[in-house]
């Protein structure tokens, strides 16, 4: 959009002697100074909700205070575990295929004692290469990889530390669905006690992506909208 400067109004005597306007500006500066220097800052990380009646500072002191990430924020990956502590991943290579940055490396292996199931013997994500697009999460048919950790890539001293293997990736709350094949067909690779526990915790597979169970804990578009409404006013 072209931008045109508004025409300057004719300069009055008051503006031409310059000083009254300087004094008015000085009054503004002084007001800000006194309010900020003599009253304490509200350190609420939600800046919009801060009490700025006296102190006007909007700074968030980053390492100590952190603004909460919005729900749906794509953070570091995690491999979703089952209740028995093993990854849900079945090493189908869908995420590695979908990945535009080719940052996922998978080596599949057969589950001992089970002629059908596979598991990721190695599952490595190079977080320096990752473009945080979330395609791997979309591609996964087993809801085995998520980006709901709420962390962004932590700083490290070496590049090697940014390469996350399956042991570091496997974390977070466990998830089981009633449709999980290893539950449906009584997979011989899983001890019976674990199988019973997983069956007990299993839920129906989510019908849509906004289902709370399938996303970051606490995430739901409806709750988000309700939360944003009073702030917008």
């Amino acid at each position: 959009m072209p931008y045109s400067l508004p025409q300057d109004k004719p300069v009055t005597f008051r503006e031409r002697i310059y000083l009254p306007e300087v004094l008015r500006g000085l009054a503004v500066v002084t007001r800000h100074f006194l309010r900020n220097a003599f009253f304490s800052r509200d350190a609420n990380p939600d800046v919009l909700a801060r009490d700025r009646r006296l102190n006007l500072v909007t700074t968030v002191q980053y390492p100590e205070e952190r603004v909460a990430y919005p729900p749906g924020y794509r953070g570091l990956h995690r491999l979703v575990p089952r209740e028995d502590g093993k990854p849900r991943c079945v090493a189908c290579y869908m995420c590695a295929t979908a990945c535009p940055a080719q940052c996922i490396y998978i080596e599949a292996a057969e589950v001992p004692g089970d002629p059908i199931e596979k598991y990721p013997f190695r599952f490595v994500i190079d977080e320096l290469r990752c473009v945080v697009c979330g395609f791997c999460v979309e591609a996964c048919p087993k809801d085995a990889i998520r980006m709901d950790t709420g962390e962004h890539a932590p700083a490290t001293y070496t590049r090697a530390e940014q390469v996350w293997d399956e042991k570091r990736l496997l974390r977070g709350p466990a998830v089981s669905y009633q449709s999980d094949p290893w539950l449906e067909r009584e997979a011989p690779g899983v001890p019976a006690a674990d199988l019973a526990r997983m069956r007990g915790a299993a839920r129906p597979f989510p019908g849509n992506a906004a289902d709370e169970y399938s996303q970051t804990p606490g995430f739901s578009p409806r709750a988000l909208a309700a939360e944003a409404k009073p702030r917008a006013r």
């Binding site: 009254p20 008015r24 500066v29 100074f33 900020n36 304490s40 500072v57 909007t58």
Partner: protein
């Protein structure tokens, strides 16, 4: 509210500390004066030596280095930020003061690079030349009244020459040499540009700087700064003393603006102009740059001291008649210490004012700087001389001058308040204008 009470306590502690510090200054001056007498020298030699050590090395240097921190913290407060607070001592940032040490350490340990094609002697000399004259300016600023301490009559001023204000002008115009030479000697075209700008700007403002004080000289009939301060203790309008700001509001504004231009700080920081030319110190690094950096802050302190002495009643508490105030104290030492603390407190407020203006106004364009000087400040100071001369001639008791000053202040206040009232509908018109685009 916790912070409010904390700040109140801090300010109270600082004021109390200032009184104690000034008492220490007086005691040092008295002791050295006594020592000088015992060695067979005039007592003023000892007092002057003590004042060089206490006023110039302690007061000015400490204030100037604290101002480097204050500039960060105060500008942050003015701009709704927090400011430097990452260096912590025992888990507390204590107002950013540790940055002072960090800065000094950085300046001293930085690599000292020099251009190969520099003019060797002048390149080394320039930082000293820009630092020393401003520093020496403080010698004539009378910080405290003359009182009897340890049997010696001492005042908190290094010396009080009869040509006090002329000394100020002389040294203030010397400081341009450091700047201009720094620009020229570094053999860098941007540096030279900065030096040339500094020279022309400072020579221009010398004129109005000098003329703006003629009114003060006429009103107080003296060139000595201590006599000017004493004259400001006389009552003029009710309890308010005959302070320079009351008698010479226009003179104060012209002097403040001109002296501000001499300090080469925003909005007059064209010689520096870090966004266009880096300025006269572009080739300087390490402590040589540090000296120029510190000279700027020393200039702020000196200017605050001069303005306090010339226009804000010096060590007098402005609204209490000087005689009444003197009568409150039994011991001359306490009277002197409280008076000197009043002086330093006024100086600090004026330093704050200078920093506030620096963060308020954007840099002038070069033609605006010269227009302001030659077309506004110079005629204003000439008019001020004429009006002051006429008023002093008509009424030597300064009453007329005081009323003229009140009228000037009232006019300025009226104009300022009138500027605050935007004409009705102006905001809507502006909004409609914005919507068009």
């Amino acid at each position: 509210m916790k912070r409010f009470y904390g700040m109140a306590i801090v300010i109270g502690a600082v004021l109390g500390g200032l009184v104690a510090l000034s008492a220490g200054f007086y005691l040092a001056a008295g002791a050295l004066a006594g020592l000088a007498v015992r060695l067979g020298a005039p007592p003023s030699y000892g007092a002057a030596l003590a004042n060089v050590l206490t006023l110039m090395l302690v007061l000015v240097m400490v204030l100037a280095s604290l101002l480097t921190v204050a500039e960060r913290k105060w500008s942050a407060a003015m701009q709704d930020r927090i400011g430097a607070n990452r260096i912590k001592v025992f888990g507390s940032a204590i107002g950013g003061i540790p940055y002072l040490l960090a800065d000094a350490l950085k300046m001293l340990t930085k690599e000292n690079t020099v251009p190969a094609t520099r003019s060797r002697l002048l390149f080394e000399l320039a930082p000293v030349l820009s630092f020393v004259p401003v520093f020496a300016l403080f010698a004539v600023v009378p910080v405290g009244p003359q009182v009897t301490v340890l049997g010696q009559k001492v005042a908190l001023a290094v010396f009080s020459p009869d040509a006090g204000i002329l000394y100020v002008f002389a040294l203030a115009s010397l400081s341009v040499y450091g700047t201009a030479l720094a620009g020229w000697a570094s053999n860098n075209k941007l540096g030279l540009l900065g030096g040339v700008r500094a020279a022309s700007q400072m020579i221009s403002y010398e004129v109005s700087l000098g003329l703006s004080l003629v009114g003060v000289l006429m009103a107080y009939r003296s060139l000595r700064l201590d006599e000017i301060v004493l004259a400001q203790g006389e009552p003029a309008l009710g309890p308010v003393g005959a302070i320079g700001f009351l008698l010479q509001p226009l003179g104060f504004l012209v002097f403040f603006a001109s002296a501000f231009a001499e300090t080469k700080r925003a909005p007059f920081d064209l010689p520096e102009g870090e966004s266009e030319i880096v300025g006269y110190f572009v080739e300087y690094s390490g402590m040589k740059f540090g000296m120029m950096f510190l000279a700027e802050f020393v200039e702020i302190v000196i200017l605050a001291g001069l303005v306090t002495a010339l226009f804000f009643g010096g060590w007098h508490p402005v609204v209490i008649p000087a005689e009444t105030f003197r009568g409150w104290f039994d011991s001359p030492l306490l009277y002197g210490a409280v008076s000197a603390a009043i002086f330093v407190a006024k100086m600090v407020v004026l330093c704050w004012l200078q920093l506030a203006i620096r963060w308020l106004l954007p840099r002038f364009r070069y033609d605006q700087v010269q227009t302001l000087c030659w077309k506004m400040l110079l005629p204003a100071s000439l008019a001020n001389i004429f009006v002051t001369g006429a008023a002093v001639l008509l009424d030597p008791s300064l009453q007329l001058l005081a009323w003229i000053g009140v009228a000037e202040i009232a006019l300025l206040a009226a104009l300022t308040v009138a500027a605050g009232r935007a004409p009705a509908g102006a905001t809507e018109a502006h909004g409609a204008h914005a919507a068009e685009h």
